[in-house]
């Protein structure tokens, strides 16, 4: 079934002109079979492809380096779910940014899909271009938070940007941010 010349309509017309009905029926059957086999193969490949793309960190907004929906983030606190995600090689994805612009910046609240669970967290360090005196990180870092507002981890072993200690973050999120700052160890 490797011959692709059955599919061309020009051939079909040629057969019809000769008015050999038996041959036409044969060819039609052959083409139908060919299509079905291709479709079945294609479906199998698709499943593989999905996994492949997932592992390859495929991103459509790479030039902007913005944190939008479905962008991958790295959990930097010592919560068990974050560690499990890191070992499994399945980083969390942003489901929603609590923000009018729907683009996450430093200090924004975010909903994450991680290991099949729905979690909330704060963006702490971005890969995007920053202002002067504000650090730019190589990865997009996130600290997880429970629904009640307490951080899920007990310690953060990674550096946080110093501008997070501004008052406005504390006021905006009603003291949730101060709890994160209290478990941090290092500021840059």
């Amino acid at each position: 079934m490797t011959g692709s010349d059955h599919i061309f309509p020009g051939k079909l017309i040629a057969y019809t002109s000769s008015l050999d009905l038996n041959l036409l029926q044969k060819t039609l059957n052959q083409t139908c079979n060919h299509f079905t086999t291709i479709c079945s193969k294609r479906l199998n490949i698709r499943e593989e492809e999905q996994c492949f793309l997932h592992n390859k960190l495929f991103s459509t907004s790479q030039c902007l380096m913005e944190l939008r929906l479905r962008s991958r983030v790295r959990v930097i606190d010592n919560s068990p779910i974050g560690k499990a995600a890191a070992t499994a090689g399945k980083p969390g994805k942003i489901m929603h940014v609590y923000n009018v612009a729907a683009v996450g910046r430093i200090g924004d609240k975010v909903m994450i899909n991680i290991m099949g669970q729905k979690k909330k967290g704060y963006i702490v360090g971005c890969r995007q271009k920053q202002k002067t005196n504000v650090p730019r990180f190589d990865t997009n870092n996130v600290v997880l938070v429970e629904d009640s507002g307490t951080p899920t981890g007990t310690r953060i072993r990674h550096p946080l940007p110093s501008c997070l200690r501004q008052k406005r973050y504390g006021e905006k999120h009603s003291g949730e941010f101060t709890k994160i700052l209290s478990i941090a160890t290092k500021f840059v």
């Binding site: 390859k56 960190l57 002067t132 990180f137 190589d138 110093s162 500021f187 840059v188």
Partner: protein
């Protein structure tokens, strides 16, 4: 040659004689005053308070050769539309004033710096950052440099304005040069090539010695990369073993511009006139001299 062409040629020659303009010069379309005309008005005797010519232009000062690379931010932009003699002078005044308050040492891309910045949010109201200088950009008061370091599994880059009043001090821990003008490819290299410890002790060079050139060749990490570094002909990068596909190879061939090295017009457009460079650097020499004599007196 018909009559109209002759007339145009005559007009152009007249104009050249009056204003010292090269023949090939085509004036801008915008309703603006050209640089040479404006300078003529500033210095003309008909004006209310004509500007006096600087003493620096007439003085004979030998400018050392390396000053062009030592103080690159004093050189004005190459685009003639962004240039103005008075604006550059006023900008330079501010820069010299700032340099009296804070010591800006000699450093290049590739040397290791420690920077102290005032920070309202820190409890000590001051933060210190140590890193490798990746790039040095822009001119005038707009100059900035980027430091990179790798701390606890996080690659961190911070950009600093060189003439910002928030800068408390700049300290050179290791004076060095690299093979490239920009080291942004370190983002995709293994972390050990950009890790610097915060308690690193400064390495002093013997007086009078030349600035050492670090000829290290850095390997690239696994893909995906931020940009296609292997295509861009960096001297400080090891050649990668990435096999280009058919289409990529064709694209590379098309995008190559081998004639740019020999493009004299491009070089002319991107560089400044030698006379302008000298007038700027003479001022730099004079100001730095005054400073050094002051410090000698204190001793």
């Amino acid at each position: 040659m018909n009559i109209i062409q002759k007339h145009i040629c005559r007009c152009l020659i007249q104009k050249c004689n009056s204003g010292n303009v090269p023949l090939s010069f085509v004036p801008a379309r915008q309703a603006t005053v050209l640089n040479w005309l404006l300078d003529k008005h500033r210095k003309s005797q008909l004006s209310q308070q004509p500007e006096k010519e600087d003493d620096i232009e007439q003085e004979t000062i030998m400018v050392p050769r390396d000053y062009k690379y030592l103080y690159p931010e004093f050189l004005p932009p190459a685009n003639y539309r962004h240039r103005d003699r008075i604006r550059e002078k006023l900008e330079r005044q501010d820069m010299f004033c700032r340099r009296t308050m804070i010591e800006v040492p000699e450093f290049y891309v590739g040397s290791i710096l420690a920077v102290n910045v005032a920070d309202t949010y820190a409890p000590s109201k001051n933060t210190r950052f140590v890193g490798l200088c990746i790039s040095r950009e822009n001119d005038g008061l707009r100059t900035n440099f980027i430091l990179r370091n790798h701390i606890d599994g996080n690659g961190i880059e911070i950009k600093y304005d060189m003439y910002s009043p928030l800068l408390q001090s700049i300290e050179v821990l290791k004076l060095e040069k690299r093979l490239d003008d920009e080291l942004f490819y370190l983002r995709d290299c293994p972390p050990e090539y950009s890790t610097i410890q915060f308690d690193m002790e400064p390495i002093h060079l013997p007086t009078g010695s030349a600035v050492p050139l670090n000829t290290i060749k850095v390997p690239l990490g696994p893909r995906p990369w931020d940009k296609k570094w292997d295509i861009k002909n960096f001297k400080g990068l090891q050649p990668s073993n990435r096999v280009l596909g058919k289409r990529a190879a064709i694209r590379l061939e098309r995008s190559a511009k081998p004639w740019e090295e020999h493009d004299l017009m491009k070089q002319y457009r991107e560089n400044i006139n030698d006379e302008d460079v000298e007038t700027v650097l003479k001022e730099v020499v004079l100001k730095t001299k005054k400073k050094s004599t002051k410090s000698q007196r204190r001793q």
